[in-house]
Structures are given as C-alpha cells and as structure tokens.
Amino acid sequence: MTRSITAAAVEAVLFVAEKPVSRGELAKTVGANPKAVSEALAELEEWYRGTGLRLQHEGDDWQIVTAPEMAPFVATYLGADRLRLSAAALETLAVVAYRQPVTRAEVESIRGVNCDQTIYTLMSRRLIEELGRREAPGSPFEYGTTWEFLECFGLSSLDALPTVLSPEGVRSDDGVVVPDK
C-alpha cells in the first residue's frame, strides 16, 4: 500500500508545520481541492494506525502529533511534566469540554458551586479559553476547550471525548438540559 500523491504532500506539509493547518490552507498549498485533502487526511489517519504518530484535529485545523501510547518516551525525552488537576478543576473542565460553548454561570449552575478559581486555573494552564461574548444580557464570556486540551488528554478530536455511563447505566451523553434559573 502506498500513499496517494496528495496524502504524501499533505503529510510533508503537516510534518514541517509548527501549528495546526486548516484544510483550506492544505488544499491551497498542495494544489488539490478540499475534498481530496479530506480523503488524504483520512488516508493518513489510517496509515498512522499503530505507529508513533497520529493526526489531531479541531474543527478544520489539522496537525501531526505523537501517539498517546508513546507519551512516556516522548515525555522522558522532552523532560515534560505530568499534568495535575484537582477534582474540582476536572469537574469544571468536564462541563466546558462536553457543553462548550458555555458561560461561567452555566458551569456554576451545573456544579452548584462558585467556579471562579477553577476557571482561572484551567485558563492559566491553557486548557480552556474565552471564545467570545454571548449575545445575552450582560454579554457573558463563553468558554471552550483549546488545542492544548486535546493534546494533554490524548484526544484526536473533540469527537473522541470519552462517552460516560451515568451511575444508573443510562447513557446521558446527550446531556440533560438544566432549565435556566
């Protein structure tokens, strides 16, 4: 099995890229249409299975990253520190990750506690970011997860967030809507 020319070109560009590259930019760079680039990316994704690399994407932005299974070796080489978060910070992160874009008030309504500190912690670790202001009274900030979040949790994209069973065995990943106060 060999790679198509487009897949090889996309791989080469992503290899030297220091930050995520959009599908549109890839298409322009390698002289293919966006659909061909999508196919090339799928081809690469398949190709990387079982290797030390993988593709990571958020929306339309793509990057080659190391496979999470190889993290111990890469971390040793880079001298990278382990990520540590408190249970409270993890809860806030879970709300933001699964329900983004979300406001601070919504996070607090779900957790039932003040979340100033945990949101501050997560922002300073660059795991979440302000996406902009919501068009609502008080125009509160909306928060979402970052590229670093995907990387730190070894998720190839937001679609790869772990699905969780509620304690009663009912899948509640579609979320139960909490009425606004």
């Binding site: 299974e69 699964y98 100033d116 501050y120 509620s166 304690p167």
Partner: protein
C-alpha cells in the same frame, strides 16, 4: 480578561459542593437517582451540613439553598395542602432538582473519565518549532537601528560608571585560574566564569584563556542548544595521554 489573582480554592469537607453531597447521600443509600423522593434526603443532608466545620459564607449559602429546597420537598410530601400554594413556581419542583442532580452525576462521571486519562498520562505532543530558520517577515529596519542605538547607549553608560579602569589581566593568569576551577568542579558555565558584569578586557582574556585550554585539551566546551548555556568541562582522563 477577567483573569487575576484569586484566593486559594477551598475544599469543603471532602465535597465539591451541595450537589456532590446530595449525590453521595443517594449513592450511600443505594437509591435510584431517577425515582428517589428527594425530600426524604433532607434529614441526612442537614445532618451532614451541621457536621461540617466552619464554611466560607458563599459556600454556606450554596449548601443552605439546596437544604431549603429539600426541606420544602419534604414538607410538601408531609402536608400535601401546601403543595398547591407554591407549585406555580416551577423551579421549586422535585423534577428540576432531580435533573440537576442527574446532570451533576453525569458531569462527575465525565470528570472521572478525564481524570483517568490524565493520570494514565497518555497525551500527545506536537513538534516544537525552531528547526526551520527563515528571516522574520515584515521586519522593520528602523527597529533594528533603534535597538542598536540602545546597545550603544548602554555601553556608553557603563563606560561612565566604571571610572577606575587600571585593572589588567594576563591570559596566563586567567588560564591558571580557570584550570584550578575546573580541577575543583567537573563542570562550570561560561556565564559563571564571566561573572556578573565583566569588563570588556576581562571577557576577552577569559575567552582567550578558554580557547587556549581547549587547544591544550584541558577542557571540553559544550552547548546543548543554540544560544544555550556554554558549559566548560574538565577533559576526561583518557585524553590525558595525548597532551604529552
């Protein structure tokens, strides 16, 4: 950016908050979150809140808010007649609190799943930059000139400050000093050898001394990365035979 210093996080008696406490009561009693009469948990909840040591005011209010709703639900079940009086206020219904509890349970499950991933340490890394060196785009030549002017001003100022030159260093003397230092400690940085604010003469003499020591195979000079620390190391023993 609403980011600024904040008081440290306060952990409340092992609970992440009132919903966490309520959820724990449900789980402790092995009750079904979908069918449990939440009012029945009022006594247990109040007992736990009372047992808590002093709480910060805003935490207390969050716990008491849930407590009051539980007590209201309990009161309604005991005295159905008061139910009609408040039922118009939909926020006070049992279903709304139940939904919040289920949502919170789900959040906790998701947080645990994320926590598992975090502890497993199975993360991805991207390639760090720095390998492709291109001239910066859109550079401003005037900025370079301005930066150079600043450097000139700096040297002028330090010239003014140092009014007692007269110090003289010989390469031989500095070579002996460095040789003694390296004999004592296996590795020393170039920055340490230069000291805090070296004069030009001192820097030059130190530099020539190092080159001389390197030529005589007394020391090794290493630099791990571009513009990184330059380390001066004693040459390993097996090379000594070559110096003769």
């Amino acid at each position: 950016m609403p980011v600024g210093p904040r008081p440290p996080e306060v952990s409340v008696a092992g609970f992440e908050g009132p919903l966490d406490l309520l959820l724990e009561l449900v789980e402790e009693k092995k009750l079904d979150i979908f069918t449990v009469r939440l009012g029945e948990l009022a006594d247990g909840y109040l007992e736990r809140v009372r047992a808590m040591a002093s709480l910060p005011a805003d935490e207390v209010s969050a716990f008491l808010y849930i407590a009051s709703r539980l007590v209201l639900l309990k009161a309604r079940s005991l005295l159905p007649s008061i139910a009609t009086a408040t039922e118009e206020d939909e926020l006070d219904t049992e279903e709304e609190l139940r939904l919040r509890l289920i949502e919170y349970a789900t959040t906790k499950g998701r947080a645990a799943a994320l926590g598992d991933r975090m502890r497993a340490g199975e993360r991805a890394f991207h390639r760090e930059g720095g390998t492709v060196e291109l001239p910066p785009k859109g550079g401003d030549p005037d900025a370079l000139a301005a930066a150079w002017q600043k450097v000139l001003a700096l040297t002028k100022r330090s010239e003014e400050e140092v009014e007692v030159p007269g110090e003289r260093y010989s390469v031989e003397q500095r070579t002996a000093e460095i040789e003694a230092l390296v004999a004592e400690q296996p590795s020393i940085t170039f920055a340490t050898l230069l000291g805090e604010r070296p004069t030009l003469g001192y820097a030059i003499v130190t530099f020539i001394a190092l080159l001389d020591l390197y030529r005589r195979l007394v020391i090794d000079i290493t630099q791990d990365e571009l513009f990184g620390e330059i380390r001066v190391e004693r040459k390993v023993r097996r090379m000594e035979g070559l110096t003769e």
